[in-house]
């Protein structure tokens, strides 16, 4: 039985900037990290491996340098790491991204059953939270998003019971396996790599699958398979406001000035 964790390599968010001339994202020299939520997805797949002896597979679609992300997964204990990389996959929106990831999972399922697919709640770059649901639909499996606790896994009955964290409420949900689960940070505490595992990871292979392996219709992948595209990128506007009084020397006078301004704008109901 396979448990799959989908992990994406992302730039360290706070450092992304826009080139004022070309109006595109400056990506050079930006350090990459594993999408933080995906570390929790990976951890959960490793917990399943520890507890039930399943094989943990880490899956990532990205450019060749995303191999680093997968090597990290191996150093943490993943049994297999697969990089889905092909020029034809480039420029993907979430529809074509989920197409490629789902195809890879189907391919894995030819070898052994895939019982669970873990994804992060969302990424910190694209931020859409759409890839997980896309995978679930394409595989026709149960979908459980925003899971913060796995309450029970009954393998014989092929059922899983989880807690989902929504706005102002929790849901306890039972679903049939296989299932696609997106995870939030509260689910677990990611482990650190051990030295022997890190050494082993250096020697292990990261499999690379291109579209020669997946054989997807080229109209359904990459830029061509993406209904959405980014027409414009810009920095958020910031309105410059007013500095009121001298708060350091005269806190009480400043407070009075502020209250006056709020009264003038009819903002106080006191």
């Amino acid at each position: 039985m396979y448990v799959v964790a989908c992990i994406k390599q992302v730039p360290d968010t706070t450092q992304v900037q826009i080139d004022p001339v070309t109006n595109t994202l400056v990506r050079d020299g930006i350090p990459f990290i594993v999408n933080p939520y995906d570390s929790h997805a990976l951890e959960e797949s490793l917990c399943m491996k520890d507890r039930y002896g399943f094989k943990a597979v880490a899956l990532s679609m990205g450019p060749p340098n995303a191999e680093a992300t997968l090597r990290k997964a191996l150093s943490l204990g993943a049994d297999r790491a697969i990089l889905l990389s092909d020029r034809a996959f480039g420029g993907a929106d979430t529809l074509s991204t989920s197409n490629v990831l789902a195809a890879a999972i189907r391919k894995l399922a030819e070898q052994d059953e895939v019982g669970l697919v873990f994804c992060g709640k969302q990424t910190i770059d694209g931020d859409t939270a759409q890839v997980g649901p896309g995978i679930a639909v394409r595989l026709g499996i149960s979908q459980l998003t925003l899971v913060d606790r796995i309450e029970h896994l009954d393998f014989l009955a092929r059922k899983i019971r989880v807690r989902r964290k929504l706005e102002g409420r929790y849901e306890i949900v039972e679903a049939k396996l296989p299932a696609m689960i997106t995870v939030v940070r509260e689910l677990n505490q990611p482990r650190y790599p051990t030295v022997p595992m890190r050494l082993k990871a250096v020697q292990s292979d990261v499999d690379v699958w291109d579209n020669g392996v997946l054989r997807l219709d080229t109209n359904s992948i990459g830029l061509k398979g993406s209904p959405t595209w980014v027409s414009r990128i810009f920095s958020p506007e910031r309105s410059q406001g007013e500095i009121v009084g001298d708060g350091l020397k005269d806190p009480s006078g400043t407070a009075r000035d502020l209250v006056e301004r709020l009264l003038a704008r009819d903002l106080l109901t006191v």
Partner: protein
């Protein structure tokens, strides 16, 4: 080829808003979207419709009309009682295939994002996440503006070759439309294309998030007074509570303050917390990291109190006070209390 595309796209008409409900109560963002949807529908000279699904949702249909829907597509059945991905997915997809809307909007909530992702995939169309701005051109292409990279950049996304165009929209960004009980509209009742036996998922229990005095929902408040690492400790938050009490507001927090255990997680404002849009947001001892700003920068008025004049929070502040919060806040609370007493004295 262009003519062929135009012909394909013109088969889709109308703006739809999915009305999200839990236990019969609508999510506020759904009404906000009817307000925005009305604007888009007028620009396209087409109809604004609401999709209402659940069990016993007659009242919700009426409410949707009162908020501006001209038509309501309703599916009412026990199998839809609790939101479940597969049931709602099949319901919405069946409606789309039958009526072919040009635009579908859903709230960018946990539920909305769960549903939008599967519907768009099933329909093989584009979906833009978490929009904060929407407009439409004369060809019917939706300009969908959204923050990405944690709010560091904004992107305008287009889906010009596929229909319907789908977007999830962040709560509290679009203004709430007025409710008018006199408005009329048509309710179209559709049968539900799924049975309980086909369901892969069962909702066993819904637990409302309560306990430990944290029932306060900051996302609905008019006044939010938030504290950050500059508050120094948990006890000092009582100072913010006092100010909040005078203003009739609630206390929020930055992630640093939450991580330090000074405030519960449900008070956190920002990328990994809540998005808020109060009338007045007062940031006390918060530096203004981009992940915090994305959660509060749409507030009507932002007040920043920080001793560091270079703190980025001042860039989004309507009113900034450079000073020691431990002096400014008590002074502010005192002023407001005096004002309140003077006013109630006048009234008495």
């Amino acid at each position: 080829e262009e003519a062929e595309l135009a012909r394909k796209l013109s088969a889709y008409r109308g703006v739809w808003v999915f009305i999200e409900q839990t236990e019969g109560e609508a999510a506020k963002v759904s009404w906000e979207l009817l307000g925005k949807g009305k604007e888009l529908a007028e620009a396209r000279n087409c109809e604004l419709a609401a999709v209402v699904m659940g069990e016993g949702v007659e009242e919700l249909c009426r409410q949707a009309i009162g908020y501006g829907a001209q038509r309501v597509f309703s599916m009412d059945a026990p199998v839809l009682r609790h939101y479940r991905t597969d049931a709602y997915q099949r319901g919405v997809c069946a409606l789309v295939e039958k009526y072919r809307p040009e635009v579908i909007l859903m709230g960018a909530t946990g539920l909305g994002r769960d549903l939008a992702g599967v519907v768009a995939t099933e329909l093989s169309t584009g979906l833009t996440a978490d929009c904060t701005g929407l407009s439409i051109d004369d060809k019917g292409n939706l300009m969908q503006t959204r923050p990405a990279f944690g709010g560091n950049i904004m992107a305008t996304i287009i889906c010009d070759k596929f229909r319907p165009q789908m977007a999830t929209v962040r709560p509290h960004v679009m203004p709430m439309p007025p409710f008018d009980a006199a408005l009329t509209g048509e309710v179209v009742r559709e049968s539900v294309p799924v049975t309980e036996e086909e369901m892969k998922v069962k909702v066993l229990k819904i637990l409302m998030d309560g306990g430990s005095g944290s029932q306060v929902d900051i996302s609905g408040a008019d006044f939010i007074i938030s504290g950050g690492r500059g508050m120094m400790n948990k006890e000092n938050f009582s100072m913010l509570q006092e100010l909040a009490d005078v203003l009739g507001g609630v206390v929020g927090a930055s992630r640093s303050a939450v991580d330090a255990g000074w405030m519960p997680q449900d008070r956190q404002v920002g990328q990994t917390g809540k998005t808020v849009r109060p009338k007045v947001y007062i940031a006390c001892g918060i530096s203004g990291a981009i992940q915090h700003l994305v959660g509060m920068q749409d507030s009507d008025v932002v007040i920043a109190i920080n001793r560091d004049p270079e703190a980025p929070i001042f860039q989004v502040a309507s009113y900034g006070i450079v000073g020691d919060l431990f002096q400014v806040i008590p002074a502010l609370t005192r002023k407001l209390k005096t004002l309140k007493e003077a006013r109630s004295g006048k009234r008495a």
